[in-house]
Symmetry: C2
Subunit: 787 residues, 2 copies
């Protein structure tokens, strides 16, 4: 039903009903489109805030990209109705809206295009989407071929619903000189100041055809009639009605009548997207439909996606992992790092982590992002809750709510950058503040950030949580200014230790010593007040109520404090054993490790309101892959290669449970539905949402953990942690301009890891003196796994 | 296809396709529901801001009630699927979602219930909605009867879609002990301060059945399957699947299996609405399904609607007008005056006018409203842009935008109140200000309001428009503080004159004289700078650009300045002839008088941005009935009885063009689509929106104009203006507690109006000394119409 094609560079799904919500996405720096296998689409573009050009049929709320997006018959999508003009049969490409099964169906999620291949006796179709690198336009190709022995008379009807564009002004018309349907809307009633912000909006939506259609329909109501989307009235007529839409819901529908002789193939191309005016539509037509504009654009887009090539290629006993890492991992990291999830004010922790992943792809971009973020630090040391990417951007709802963990991510993300690049010069860069023109070096600024964390504690030395830390739903446990976060206390300790190491490496031993002392203080406080006997609690609320502890009925254990207690060194070996046992018992599921359990099913007012998210969804008891990745990273750091590998693999939607998750293995979703013990029916379901910090930690789990090929000062440290059942693995690792072809192999009689570079034995596990532009052969001999 | 039933107390439509958007509405003080003949529904309730309990299938934007609401297959509605268990045939009540035609179809819009009667050979159905007077609950009754000669095995499936309740937490379950499906949601991620505002929200939606169903379905996806709403998969099975919904779009669907012998009838009752918790659902069940709770509630609701009885019953040669006035006019006025369009911050001009209509129904309510509004006046004299009805209410978007006409409505509305009640004591009431505890009398306050208008003019004496006056789309012509409104200048003159009369009647001749002088000054300024040769212009923008003038290509003439120039006395008889000719030529259409023409088709930046509304819609060139009513009122004031009647009747959707308007004659919509000369296809289409100030002016056109039975100081003044082709009319007029049975008749030889009260001739046209509680017979003899 599903499998890789072309050596994994694309994935193919052969049924539209088995995984009806399976989806794939394409993006460029200004837009994004997610398509389900049935043809529904969710697209956004930036102007500069996220906007839409294909709308729901009712007035939509503006929102960020939703997980588990609900679909319904009139959801926006990109379709082609097909009518056999002789028999009168009606189908639709790819599956919606008619839902009549094709004999052959394939949904193919590629790197830089998404396509369908469909067949009926005697007919074959291809329906392909690519994007351009820079324009706000979808590039569609429809191919039809007569694979039979008789001539076929067909009508093809590209059908692009546009939906309810505006409650004040929407209309649509066919423009014969452009072979385009242009639907217009106007931003509704607005204040003067909004008007000047909005007046350049691309409020039009256009469908431009390379070949002028034989007929068209612009009025949704006229298209559907009483037959509805499954049997549109318009298709009962010889020709579409050629109507316009005047303050009526518009649609872009066209009709091509053709007769295909046996073996004959035809191809049609379309552009769909937003536009400011007719002149822009004309310019798009000119650019893409004269000479080779269209194919040049799809080529350029392919190169754009390929330019997000990362530092790792692998060949292991695990083909699915190989496929994911070699074809999809970089792509998802690149999406995050290059476009920041299509927001103008990314949350600081997201922005820093999304650029942590870019360290392995385009470290210069990561560097620039870290500097941009730090230049918005407050003079008092605290990072803002969101980073403004444009001069006119504003911190929106969630970023107006104080979360106290933002500073932690500075050393966490910077350490990955320094490991990968060795670029310690970044520490001496001088930057302003968000609220002051005064300048300071990155070193000084992060010292300030660490000092802020150090001081932002209660009398017990526990970190205040305010209205949230990493976990949004905990937004009401500390709003009175007393509640504390055990996780944040541990994360602060870990951040301090990382920072101490960086200071040390930068010739600042006193700073290092200071931060190590502070880290121990945080760890001590967490152990004294946060250790609940068998695991670490999550926090203590304004009311003095500990939560995430054994006495809780719901939310009894949270994953994050356990992971970060391992990373920070707070947990002794005995504590580590104990907390891991608790995680196994209470959080592990066939679909991964849940973020907390049991999921909250109601508000817990006595603690402070704890979560309003649905049990098992998002951060309330889901298998939240971002948190899972922290845990896996901690397991690897603790040297637990087998456990690490097992849980790492669960994040990937390419094993036996893939079907249950409803997810193609082309990206790791932000979560799989959790609450496995409470609501087993829905557990494991994929969010289908590709926005997630998971992917960057997944990268680090591979680099620092599984393959152990991590930068360390001026060297590459080699510390593989292959699972016991792997005898060998090949890795191509790009590192600071050099390329290493690494072969790792367990060999009898090897008692400790030994390295051989270009045939020469290397002492220890650090490779120094690697030169940019050179290619190295590295043999890594590993001990055999103990039985 | 359509006609009155029961002497006009309800209207019947017998085809679901001829007028697919024909709708009717019910309301109580806390909720409102509008139903189309096909079963789609739009409902809102107050908590205290408008909220929903049945949602679209995607995340909806919050908005005020929309005109020309677009419907689509998954739009919320109230339906019953019907399956013939023997034949397998599927229908749906009332028409959607299956859309299979019934042999008999009737949609019956009643005063206090909306119902359908449907028939197939051998089967008859009734589907009836009423509301309760106080609760947030829909009361549904389903009746089925076997009208054939064979037993029939049926499944009935009440199907109430609930839609996408919340993007963070939605679920649904059947509760057997309550025979109810309860769908739950939680208000999504929110700031601390919002949480405490939102925590008591009724975030649940319930369907409660009197009789426990045989099966149920709560998961929308499981109900539909691949068959979709037209052929739901769930109906192919013997029984519904009895599933719950967990972070899945919920639905309230139930199944009843029954066998009906010939002649047998069954009845099922349901409650649908929002609830806070299960306890509230249980309480609703107890209240409505034990003893006679259900029928007592529908009775009480009938009485509530009937309590909005007004001051006029008529019997004229115009049966359609009689029907509307005797059955629907009061109801629509009452809806506005009693619930303020379900808002918490009604625009000041709406609030005052909605209560102007209440003057004829419940003058005490109108009085209280005028005092409430005035007590929010700013100390500087200006009325705020919206009136806050609750302590926690806030002025929302549009009411944060300065509109400079709010003061005008004080004397305009108060004069109707004083005419109807003679209650001059209101002028001596002492009230605080919105921004000060200082108190002043109503008289003093309105003097201040008039002084504010007097001073808020430019060097030419023209009234500044700021970001708008009565007409919202003109929001950008004066934002720089220079633009002026000719309409507002004329309206200020009219307000001054009305106020002068009130002062005069209150023994303040000097005030009266002053305000008459100011009125003349306004009129002079309008004539000097606003008269465009053949009609009055609309205004002069910040840039000094006159608009609404002959040199304009679009927006060349506006109706309002013409109407108010007639009312204010600015227009000389010659000017009146000229401007009426211009209105006839440019604004009159078969569907009424357009508010401006030609409609704007684009922004006019050189003027100031003029309108973003669609040409022909809402205020951009529509037949905006509110403006039409001003004009009709002005025509009557000018003594133009025939013209007044002709245009008055065009507002009513009960003539030959009713079909084109798509509107049942149970309310006057806020507009009929205009731009008749530009876009004839859509002209005349009804907005289907029953929120409109039109209705109050329609009342005044009848009281002050057509029937001329208007209060005047301590008297009732009798000045009928029957159209020439009416020989007679009977009117029952309630006036200050008395009731007059009036018979008007043209008689040969009568040269001027003569009155006979209880058989005695009355000198002049003023009836004084009418006593509350008494019933009078009034004969009015009128001259014959000149040929």
């Amino acid at each position: 039903m599903m499998g890789p094609t072309d050596q994994g560079a694309s994935y193919r799904l052969t049924s539209p009903t088995a995984m009806p919500k399976a989806s794939a996405f394409l993006w460029n720096r200004r837009m994004m489109i997610s398509l389900t296998c049935r043809g529904f689409a969710t697209a956004q573009f930036m102007q500069p805030e996220p906007a839409k050009y294909a709308h729901a049929p009712n007035l939509e709320a503006k929102t960020f990209m939703q997980p588990e997006n609900p679909y319904y018959a009139h959801h926006p999508g990109r379709f082609v109705y097909v009518r056999d003009d002789a028999a009168g049969d009606i189908y639709s490409i790819p599956h919606e809206p008619v839902r009549r099964p094709w004999d052959d169906f394939a949904f193919i999620a590629g790197q830089s295009e998404v396509s369908w291949r469909l067949g009926q006796p005697g007919l074959a179709f291809e329906w392909v989407l690519s994007l351009s690198e820079d324009d706000l336009v979808e590039l569609w190709t429809l191919k039809v071929r007569n694979t039979g022995t008789e001539a076929r008379a067909l009508s093809l009807y590209p059908y692009f619903p546009v939906g309810y564009m505006s409650w004040m002004n929407q209309s649509g018309q066919y423009h014969p000189e452009l072979a385009a349907i242009i639907c217009s809307s106007v931003t509704p009633y607005q204040k003067v100041e909004d008007y000047f912000k909005n007046k350049d909006f691309k409020d039009k939506t256009c469908l431009i055809a390379e070949i002028a259609p034989d007929a068209f329909e612009v009025r949704q109501e006229a298209f559907e009639g009483e037959g509805g989307l499954m049997h549109p009235d318009a298709l009962r007529e010889e020709h579409l009605g050629c109507n316009d839409a005047r303050y009526e819901t518009p649609v872009c529908a066209m009709q091509y009548r053709l007769t295909l002789t046996p073996g004959e193939e035809r191809s049609y191309r379309f552009l769909f997207g937003p536009a400011f005016d007719e002149a822009e539509v004309a310019a798009l037509r000119e650019r893409y439909f004269s000479q080779d504009g269209f194919s040049q654009a799809t080529d350029a887009y392919r190169h754009y996606v390929a330019s997000g090539r990362g530092s790792l290629r692998i060949e292991t006993p695990d083909a699915a992992l190989d496929n994911f890492v070699n074809h999809w991992l970089d792509r998802q990291v690149f999406y995050h790092g290059d476009v920041n999830r299509l927001s103008t004010d990314p949350q600081t922790r997201n922005y820093l982590q999304d650029n942590m992943g870019m360290v392995y792809l385009q470290p210069q971009k990561a560097r620039a992002a870290f500097l941009k973020a730090l230049s918005q630090q407050h003079r008092a040391g605290e990072m803002p809750d969101g980073i403004l990417l444009h001069p006119g951007a504003e911190l929106k709802y969630i970023n107006q709510i104080p979360h106290y963990d933002q500073n932690v991510w500075l050393p966490v993300c910077l350490s990955a950058y320094l490991d990968e690049t060795g670029d310690r010069a970044i520490l001496d860069e001088r930057l302003p503040y968000g609220d002051s023109d005064q300048q300071a070096t990155v070193l000084a600024k992060i010292n300030q950030a660490m000092a802020w964390l150090e001081q932002n504690v209660d009398e017990r030395g526990l970190s205040y949580i305010a209205q949230g830390d990493w976990c949004d739903p905990m937004n009401m446990v500390g709003y009175k200014g007393k509640g504390v976060s055990i996780w944040l206390t541990l994360a602060s300790a870990y951040a301090m230790k990382l920072w101490a190491d960086i200071c040390e490496g930068h010739g600042e031993p006193e700073l290092a010593a200071h931060h190590r002392t502070v880290a121990e203080r945080f760890n001590d406080a967490a152990n004294r007040h946060g250790w609940d006997g068998h695991w670490y609690g999550r926090g203590i609320s304004d009311n003095g109520q500990a939560f995430g502890v054994a006495s809780d009925e719901e939310g009894r254990i949270f994953l994050n404090p356990q992971s970060w207690a391992m990373l920070s060194g707070a947990a002794s070996p005995e504590q580590q054993q104990s907390l891991m046992a608790a995680v196994t018992e209470q959080l592990e599921t066939p679909y991964g490790v849940a973020m907390l359990a049991p999921a909250y099913t109601r508000m817990h007012e006595h603690i402070g309101r704890v979560t309003q998210k649905h049990p098992g969804s998002a951060e309330n008891g889901s298998v939240y892959n971002h948190a899972s990745a922290f845990y896996v990273y901690a397991l690897y750091e603790a040297g637990l290669a087998d456990k690490g590998y097992t849980l790492l693999r669960q994040m990937l939607p390419c094993d036996d449970t893939a079907l249950a998750r409803g997810q193609l293995p082309v990206f790791i979703p932000n979560y799989y539905r959790g609450a496995y013990r409470q609501f087993p029916r829905t557990a494991g379901r994929s969010s289908q949402l590709f926005n997630t910090g998971t992917i960057h930690w997944f990268y680090r789990c591979l680099i620092d953990g599984l393959f152990g090929l991590k930068g360390d000062g001026d060297a590459l440290r080699v510390t593989p942690k292959l699972p016991a059942h792997w005898q060998s693995a090949k890795v191509t690792r790009r590192f600071r301009g050099a390329e290493l072809e690494v072969e790792m192999r367990r060999e009898p009689g090897v008692s400790a890891i030994t390295l051989e570079l270009d045939g020469k034995a290397v002492a220890g596990q650090r490779l120094t003196g690697l030169e940019p532009g050179r290619r190295y052969q590295l043999r890594v001999r590993l001990p055999e796994a103990s039985a």
